[in-house]
């Protein structure tokens, strides 16, 4: 009897210990709490929406309006300069053409647009695996993501010309190559056309991508790449949506009078408040701002900004700059493009 007890103890013990020695295989699966597991997160509408939100967010290079508009566009030209003020250390790079890749003026948009591209890529990589949503919804999400990604590339193009086209987050491309003009052209055409096909005419949330936005953006790209016929056709398509009309209004209201500045005996621009001109506080304009081309350009800028100024982020989504790489060599056409651009694309949103 005693022997039996001993043996059974032995068996129990050995089995307990061997239980301990064996391990269950998914014990070491990483548990995720404070972050989102993409496999489940991207299956839900909220998940997909939040990634789109972050993509929109990164598409808006914030707090840089002054820098982008005036430093980049005007300081390398002969309209503006700056000395002695707090802006000088930044402006001097552009007055002297000494900017480099470390300048946040360039590194920030480069980083942010590519972050936005990363987000949309992550979404597009995953969206075909989504089973919980209707095909229509998926189609629309896809179109929206493709629009954002194309818009990111468009804005990058405005800064840098054709840039590497990264279209998936699944593979890491550590040695990306710059796309050719043709590749870039094809990419933007295809993507924006495809997006336009699936995007709705209006969105319930103001500020989200629409069919008109996709077409107008492509139209602007054609305009800025001097593809006149295509630009005309595309913008005609926008007009034919019967949703938008050209802006009409009094421009003078928004333009600072340089005569008035002169009368006050100093070169500092005195601008009415609550106009985008207040962005120019701190920067100084030459005493005479009378050159017709300069004035026209400024007017067109202001016009654009004001029209879109209801939402400052909107401005950045829609208001294109004179591309830097065009700035010196193709100044005239760029100016033309700039004013055209405003007239054609501002009213889109």
């Amino acid at each position: 009897m005693k022997m039996k007890i001993k043996i059974s103890y032995r068996i129990v013990w050995v089995s307990i210990v061997s239980l301990f020695l064996s391990s269950c295989s998914d014990f070491l699966k990483e548990e995720i709490y404070t972050q989102y597991d993409p496999t489940s997160f991207l299956q839900t509408e909220e998940g997909i929406n939040s990634v789109l939100v972050a993509s929109y967010s990164n598409m808006q290079v914030n707090a840089n309006m002054r820098d982008r508009m005036y430093l980049l566009n005007e300081f390398p030209g002969d309209i503006m300069w700056e000395w002695g003020g707090s802006l000088e250390s930044t402006a001097v790079l552009f007055m002297g053409y000494s900017w480099d890749s470390q300048s946040t003026m360039f590194s920030t948009p480069w980083q942010q647009y590519y972050e936005s591209i990363r987000n949309t890529n992550a979404l597009l990589d995953n969206i075909d695996k989504v089973t919980a949503l209707s095909a229509d919804k998926i189609k629309q999400f896809k179109a929206e993501a493709r629009f954002i990604r194309a818009a990111d590339y468009y804005y990058l193009w405005e800064y840098f010309g054709p840039v590497p086209l990264i279209t998936t987050a699944a593979e890491l491309n550590l040695e990306p190559l710059r796309a050719t003009d043709a590749e870039f052209n094809t990419f933007l055409s295809t993507e924006l056309q495809a997006a336009a096909t699936d995007l709705p005419l209006t969105q319930s949330l103001w500020g989200k991508a629409t069919k008109g936005a996709a077409l107008a953006l492509l139209g602007r790209f054609y305009l800025n790449t001097l593809q006149w016929q295509k630009a005309t056709d595309l913008n005609k398509q926008v007009m034919d949506l019967n949703k938008y009309k050209l802006f009409s209004g009094d421009l003078k209201k928004y333009v600072c009078s340089s005569e008035r500045s002169q009368r006050r005996g100093h070169s500092h621009q005195s601008c009415p408040h609550n106009t985008p001109w207040k962005q120019l506080h701190g920067a100084r304009l030459p005493p005479k701002l009378s050159h017709p081309v300069q004035l026209a350009e400024l007017r067109s800028h202001v016009l654009c900004i004001q029209r879109l100024g209801q939402n400052i982020r909107c401005q950045r989504q829609t208001f294109g700059m004179v591309p830097v790489h065009l700035h010196r060599n193709k100044r005239e056409s760029a100016q033309f493009a700039g004013s055209q651009r405003c007239r054609e694309s501002c009213p889109l949103f």
Binding site: Q35, S50, A54, S55, P176
Partner: protein, 1092 residues
């Protein structure tokens, strides 16, 4: 007659000898060498040089002795393996030599007293005539009387825990014996991780410190007990606040970007905290220093492993013991700052030299007096009391140790202190020979009242001590008529007293940890163990700044509550097998463990309260717009297989191999598991027969080991893709929250791995009067975790990868000498260790890594560069002071003025710029040492403990703030004013102080003034204890009183509260800086230890 008492051994052991005309001495040596016989004789009677002839062939020892004693009539008696040689009685003829000595010899009575080394009488000692059953036990007074003892008998005294002692009674009637404690010598058993081993079998580098060798003093953290005791283990008090953090590094530091902290294992439970254990409950601490010893802990071993074993019950009657001490603590250092008069004088002088208006008139200066010493307003003498009550004992079946502990320590800075409550239960039950169950349960509650000591902006957020060092000495420390503390607006610092009292910072931690195990002996030598353990820890912090502080006033009170709730469990199964086959001995261990770590974090914050009285207890009464809430939950898991094999041959050749296969939830399926092997060999040279000829060498063991260990210092989710909240935008007129990918997952990521070689020699000479060991190690930490930049077009700026190599090498020596062993006993212990740390390889993409940043306006000072020690101090070398006679215009600093510092133009390009920075020192000591001298005489015991480090530097931000005040009206150190350069005082080494904002600008504040030598030697402890003789006192078994002094003297060139302190908290514990660190206390302590 002889054969009747001769043992079987003497009958079985046969000799073949052919000796002609040799001394008896030689014959005896032959016998002893060729057998286990021990010969005992009286040298006064026996002429060892007497020449004899012996010729035997396969015969017993009796034949030899008969031949040897044939001429001299000596007789002998054999008791097992002992042979007693007896002189012939006068008149006795050669023919009677084999007569029974018991019957024939004169018998007598012997009495005496047995005491221990401290002179305490020992009752219950067994006194036996060797080889017989004749014997008695000493009485309560340690006295024994034995009658009928033969003249040549040997008496054996034995007592549990004491060394057995033998004495011949020759010619004596009174024998007073002093028994010595069983020395923690060669047969000591030490913990090695997942088991114990005989110390003599250990092949790795393991330092074991037992409770009697612990550093004495007020200890809130168990690591304080180890300070300086283990060569190669550097323990420094980073923050001397009661309950403040301690840094421990074992053999340098290997990781550049991850944690370098050791793994603490308490009673087999990994991951414990030395702050939550009562130091008085600790029996021993083992440090697994090298890879061959530590690799069994795999991914957590790279920075060394500290094993803590708590006290266990022993068989016997219940022992009640009460320990207490009272300690008076006082500041051991104060900065010498300017008093009010000097302060005004300083501002006047520097203003004058700078060509500015002099702000104070001489009347004002004369009237200022001494003013307020702000350090005195914050520092105080403080009391610490400690009580510990323990109960232990047990039977063969059940053994127990329980203890209650209470420590109440006020800090030497106002509004700081700790209250610590501990309870420990250790229970072991052996219901049968086969079963063994145990439970170990530890509960602790730590309540800390903390004082801010933080990296700060140097402004109104400064901590009180920082403010005190720079505050206006003319102001009063008490509130003014408006009920507010005075401030000097141009100093931009809050009043130090307001900061100390108006900012309430409390931390409470409640921790329960412990484990239970069951052990079952399946077969002889085969044992299976399971262990379940847990560690539950809640830490809550409450911070409140009331309206007496500038910050609190501006916000209407600031309340912040945050808590961490961590849970841990462990399951483990082990199988042990042990077997001897002849001269071979094998022991095997295999097992598996699974561990889960979980942490919950929560924070609530508000400002703008109705009133300060609710403190942090009613955060909802704050302004709702200021509410901040945070929460987090993190989990990770480890699952491992472990194995160890020990093999020894003839106890001479030792081999140990261990392996651990660690798997973690943190790595991808690709690299989930990693293997950490180790191999070590030992050779006990003294076990070799040829060594027996050198009795002076009592122990010699050569060890060699190699192993690989991992560093788990890596965060969750590094190898998988996750999305994190972020990227909000406005759509449809409302803010929407976004989410985006957190990182580029790198599934290839693997552990930082440390490879170590260790070679060591354990030695003991002259019966271990001199003993110790010396070890040399070299370890390389490879596959360091780095963030490798990637093209931004990926949408990320970097990816975590493995790269790089850091090397640590050094020599550890520990030496113990028993200088005097008589009435006055004197033992010295010495540890010395050297360390060389070097960054061997860095990824090309990282360039120079410069960190520091203890305060926003102080640039980085710690450099990681290939070929140099990690986090070396990097700055400008000051070569002198410009004099009016110097040709300044032609120097590298053409715009400098006389009195400004001259910097080394390292690159000789004629200007001083960032490329002139040089290595000014490093945070690793070249040499660390400790010396302990222990004296005892009668009931007195005196311990003197010294420790020090040499060849270590630190960045001293307080010196920086004095020499380079960011604000002209701040107070400075007397030295920097009195000894400053002036046109009259040109021989000094200090600059003029005029325009320091210019001459120390652009990072030049990191220079050879502010990087200081932090070498020191400290009289850490002197303890005198007295064992009160208790005669006829039944209630108390023993009473020991002690008086000790701690941190009595520190010899250093460093200017500051403590050269050991460290303010940098970058997670790697390597970079070193000093900045308003909590001052170290000088302590006077009286204590008592009573056993009932």
């Amino acid at each position: 007659m002889v054969t009747a008492t001769a043992s079987t051994y003497s009958q079985q052991t046969k000799f073949t000898l052919n000796l002609n005309g040799v001394a008896i001495r030689e014959v005896f040596r032959e016998i002893e060498q060729n057998s286990k016989f021990i010969l005992l004789y009286n040298e006064k009677e026996l002429d060892l040089n007497h020449k004899v002839d012996v010729k035997v062939s396969d015969e017993t020892v009796e034949s030899i002795l008969d031949q040897a004693f044939h001429e001299i009539n000596f007789s002998y008696k054999i008791y097992d393996r002992q042979i007693v040689i007896l002189a012939p009685k006068p008149g006795e003829s050669a023919g009677n030599e084999k007569a029974d000595v018991y019957a024939e010899q004169q018998k007598k009575s012997i009495s005496g007293k047995v005491t221990d080394e401290k002179g305490q009488t020992l009752p219950g000692v067994s006194v036996v005539v060797k080889g017989t059953t004749i014997g008695v036990i000493t009485d309560v007074k340690g006295v024994f009387t034995l009658s009928n003892v033969p003249e040549n008998a040997i008496l054996q005294f034995s007592f549990v825990g004491m060394k057995t002692q033998e004495t011949t009674v020759l010619g004596k009637t009174i024998l007073n014996i002093v028994l010595t404690e069983e020395t923690v010598g060669i047969e000591e058993v030490v913990a090695v991780g997942y088991g114990t081993m005989k110390k003599s079998d250990i092949t790795g580098s393991v330092t074991s410190v037992t409770s009697k060798d612990f550093v004495k003093g007020v200890a809130t953290n168990a690591l304080q007990l180890l300070s300086g005791k283990a060569a190669g283990v550097n323990i420094s008090q980073a923050n001397a606040e009661p309950g403040g953090t301690l840094n421990i590094s074992v053999r340098g530091a290997g990781s550049i970007n991850s944690s370098n902290s050791v793994l603490i294992v308490i009673d087999g439970l990994p991951g414990g905290s030395t702050a939550n254990i009562n130091p008085s409950d600790i029996e021993s601490i083992e440090v697994l220093k090298d890879a061959s010893a530590a690799a069994i802990y795999g991914t957590r071993a790279a920075n060394g492993v500290v094993l803590i074993t708590t006290k266990k019950g022993k068989e016997g009657v219940a022992q009640v013991s009460y320990n207490t001490y009272f300690a008076q603590q006082s500041p051991s250092y104060k900065f010498d700052l300017l008093d009010a008069t000097q302060y005004m004088q300083m501002i006047n002088d520097i203003s004058k030299d700078a060509g500015k208006t002099i702000p104070y008139t001489s009347d004002q200066v004369a009237a200022a007096g001494k003013g307020t010493d702000w350090q005195n307003e914050l520092l105080r003498n403080a009391l610490a009391t400690n009580h510990q009550l323990s109960l232990s004992g047990g039977t063969k079946q059940t053994k127990y140790y329980t203890s209650l502990g209470y420590l109440d320590q006020d800090g030497i800075m106002v509004s700081s202190g700790i209250k610590k409550y501990n309870v420990l239960v250790n229970l072991e039950i052996n219901p049968s020979d086969h079963f063994n169950f145990g439970i170990n349960l530890n509960g602790s509650m730590n309540k800390k009242d903390k004082i801010a000591n933080e990296s700060n902006s140097g402004g109104e957020n400064a901590d009180p001590l920082n403010a005190a060092l720079m505050f206006d000495p003319r102001l009063s420390p008490v509130k003014n008529a408006n009920g507010e503390y005075d401030k000097n607006p141009s100093i931009a610092l809050d009043n130090p007293v307001a900061l100390a009292n108006g900012y309430d910072f409390r931390e409470e931690s409640n921790r329960i940890y412990g484990n239970s195990f069951g052990e079952y002996k399946i077969l002889e030598g085969l044992k299976a163990t399971i262990r379940l353990g847990t560690d539950l820890n809640n830490i809550r912090n409450d911070e409140y700044s009331d309206r007496t502080t500038m910050k609190g006033k501006a916000s209407g009170g600031i309340g912040n509550v945050y808590s961490n709730n961590s849970k841990y469990w462990l399951m483990e199964g082990l199988i042990n097998y042990e077997k001897s086959f002849g001269k071979h001995h094998l022991s095997l261990m295999a097992g598996s463990t699974a561990e889960r770590f979980e942490n919950l974090y929560q924070r609530s914050f508000a400002t703008g309260f109705l009133s300060d009285v609710t403190n942090t207890n009613l955060l909802q009464s704050g302004n709702a717009l200021t509410y901040q809430v945070n929460s987090a939950k993190t989990v990770y898991k480890l699952q491992s297989y472990i194995g160890r094999a020990n093999y020894s041959f003839q106890d001479k050749y030792l081999l140990t191999a261990t392996v651990r296969r660690d798997g973690t939830s943190r790595f991808s399926d690709k690299n989930k598991y990693a293997i950490f092997p180790s191999l070590a060999a030992g050779w006990r040279i003294t076990e070799e027969p040829f060594m027996k000829k050198i009795p002076e060498i009592s122990n010699l063991k050569l060890k060699f080991g190699y192993g690989r260990m991992g560093n788990e210092g890596i965060g969750n989710f590094e190898t998988i893709s996750t999305f994190v909240a972020g990227g909000n935008t406005v759509l449809g007129g409302a803010i929407l929250s976004g989410a985006q990918p957190a990182r580029i997952p790198n599934p290839e990521l693997t552990w930082e791995t440390t490879e170590e070689y260790n070679i060591g020699l354990d030695f003991g000479f002259f019966n271990n009067r001199i003993s110790g060991n010396i070890e040399y190690y070299k370890k390389n930490t490879i596959d360091q975790l780095f963030s490798k930049p990637v093209p931004m077009s990926t949408g990320f700026s970097n990816i975590r990868t493995n790269f790089g190599n850091v090397e640590n090498k050094g020599l550890d020596l520990s030496l113990t000498t028993r200088n005097l062993t008589g009435k006055v006993q004197w033992t010295s212990s010495l540890t010395v260790s050297t360390l060389k740390n070097k960054v061997v390889e860095l990824p090309a993409y990282v360039g120079d890594i410069i960190t520091g940043g203890i305060v926003a306006n102080i640039p980085g000072f710690a450099l990681v560069r290939q070929g140099f020690p990690m986090r070396a101090f990097y700055g400008y070398e000051v070569t002198g002071i410009f004099q009016a006679t110097d040709d300044i215009a032609k120097s590298a600093q053409p715009t400098a003025k006389p009195g400004e510092p001259k910097f080394l133009d390292y690159d000789l390009n004629g200007k001083i710029d960032a490329s002139d920075r040089v290595i000014l020192g490093d945070p690793f000591p070249d040499l660390s040492y400790s010396i302990n001298n222990s004296f005892s005489y009668k009931n007195f015991n005196l311990d003197i403990y010294l420790l020090g480090v040499h060849g270590i530097e630190t960045f001293n931000a307080n010196v920086l703030e004095s020499m380079f005040p960011i604000n002209f009206d701040r107070n400075i150190m007397t030295e920097h004013y009195v000894n400053r350069w002036t046109p009259q005082n040109t021989g000094t080494g200090y600059p003029s102080g005029v325009n320091s904002a210019v001459y120390f600008a652009n990072g030049k504040m990191i220079n050879s003034f502010t990087v200081q030598d932090a070498s020191f030697m400290r009289i850490k402890n002197i303890t005198l204890s007295y064992n009160v003789p208790l005669k006829n006192f039944k209630l108390i078994k023993s009473l020991t009183l002690s008086l000790s002094g701690e941190n009595l003297l520190t010899i250093t060139k460093f200017d500051g509260f403590d050269p050991e302190a460290n303010q940098t908290d970058d997670g790697t514990s390597v970079a070193k800086s000093s900045y308003n660190n909590y001052p170290i206390a000088k302590v006077l302590r009286i204590g008592a230890n009573i056993n009932f």
